[in-house]
């Protein structure tokens, strides 16, 4: 078995395994379709290139890579970069939504506290009026 054939077999097994895992996660609803699309697309392209040697060799020659299987890694690396950027975008949005939720929670909690027992600020107010010495002088 030649080196070329060996690496092709390994590539096919790995990319097919990746595709299978992603599909299974999606089937079990562990992965939302929205985030799976990019993964599925990436693994499908990698699998296709692993199987279809001619196309991989054409691409490798076109971008000046002498050893065709290296092109597979280059393409995989490109997908990884895109996926990571995608995650940063998702995290940024989640962080922003998280902030808005926390703020809303605080505002609602404040309103609830005030409705349930308006005494807190009022008590302090009257206490202050009775005893002016409690006012802390500003330094």
């Amino acid at each position: 078995m030649s080196m070329q054939l060996k690496i092709q077999l390994v590539s096919i097994v790995v990319t097919a395994g990746l595709f299978g895992v992603i599909f299974e996660l999606l089937r079990r609803k562990r992965l939302m379709e929205r985030y799976a699309l990019l993964w599925l697309f990436a693994s499908a392209v990698l699998l296709a290139l692993a199987v279809w040697r001619g196309l991989l060799e054409t691409i490798a020659a076109a971008i000046g890579i002498y050893y065709a299987p290296s092109a597979l890694f280059v393409i995989a690396f490109g997908f990884i970069l895109v996926l990571l950027l995608h995650f940063s975008l998702v995290i940024s949005r989640l962080a922003d939504q998280n902030k808005v939720l926390a703020q809303r929670l605080g505002l609602l909690q404040q309103r609830l506290d005030e409705l349930e027992g308006a005494e807190a600020p009022a008590v302090a107010e009257s206490a202050r009026r009775e005893d002016p010495t409690t006012v802390v002088s500003s330094r």
Binding site: G106, Q110, A120, A124, R128, S137, S138
Partner: protein
């Protein structure tokens, strides 16, 4: 006229009561709103006992998130004027009357900032030497962009009118907001001004910016300023000074 003082506080149990008390003494027209940004100490209880309203975040959001909650509250409760006062006691509440008077006499001004550096004769706390270098760089950059003199770009001692409240309630910078907020105000074509104030060294707790973080702070804020220059600006009405992001659709 309804006025509110937004006091962001994160683990400021040692000083927040003094801040609220001095506000009640020096500016009784202001409602005190402490935003407890997920403190692990008794900041909320102490602030309530001092007579402030308290918004408590379930976890720490950072100064930007805390201040924005305050502006949200001010917007939803129909306040005319909001002032930010640090929970650590740096800001002297005796200045509030001057700020209000200044805004009343200059209706075209929407935000007035207390500056430590405006009045050369004034003493008081002026930050450490290394931070002053950063402040001077920001000051130069912001003055060039906004075409008005910004002497204290990192000052969080600011009073805004309704338009400023609406703007900040809907959009406020995240981590180190003061410098970016000056730029935002300019981008939305609000008019800003500065008044000289004296600040004190903090009375308790720890600053939100450690000295090791200062470099990161500088770079992050400079990036924010640079990127901000490439954002779409709200289009001004012909002949008008221009709306707040097309009247708050933002």
């Amino acid at each position: 006229m309804r006025c509110i003082a937004i006091i962001p506080a994160y683990n400021e149990v040692a000083s927040v009561a003094d801040v609220v008390a001095s506000l009640r003494q020096n500016a009784p027209g202001f409602d005190a709103l402490v935003v407890d940004d997920g403190s692990t100490d008794a900041t909320t209880a102490v602030a309530r006992a001092a007579g402030a309203r308290v918004i408590r975040h379930p976890f720490n959001l950072g100064i930007g998130g805390a201040v924005q909650s305050g502006y949200r509250f001010a917007l939803e409760n129909d306040y005319d004027i909001a002032v930010q006062i640090d929970g650590d006691g740096q800001h002297d509440t005796r200045h509030l009357a001057e700020f209000v008077e200044f805004l009343r006499r200059n209706p075209h001004i929407d935000m007035v900032t207390g500056s430590r550096f405006l009045d050369d004769a004034a003493d008081g706390y002026r930050s450490s030497a290394s931070r002053r270098i950063g402040i001077r760089i920001f000051s130069k950059v912001l003055s060039a962009i906004t075409r008005r003199k910004v002497t204290d770009p990192t000052s969080g001692f600011r009073m805004t009118t309704r338009r400023g409240i609406a703007l900040f309630a809907n959009d406020y910078p995240h981590d180190y907001p003061e410098v970016e907020a000056v730029l935002m105000v300019h981008a939305h074509r609000l008019e800003g001004a500065e008044l000289p104030v004296r600040m004190r060294a903090r009375t308790g707790g720890a600053s939100s910016i450690g000295s090791t973080q200062s470099v990161y702070y500088m770079i992050k804020v400079l990036l924010a300023i640079f990127v901000g220059l490439f954002r779409a600006r709200p289009t001004p009405e012909p002949g008008q000074p221009a709306p707040v992001s097309a009247e708050q659709a933002l």
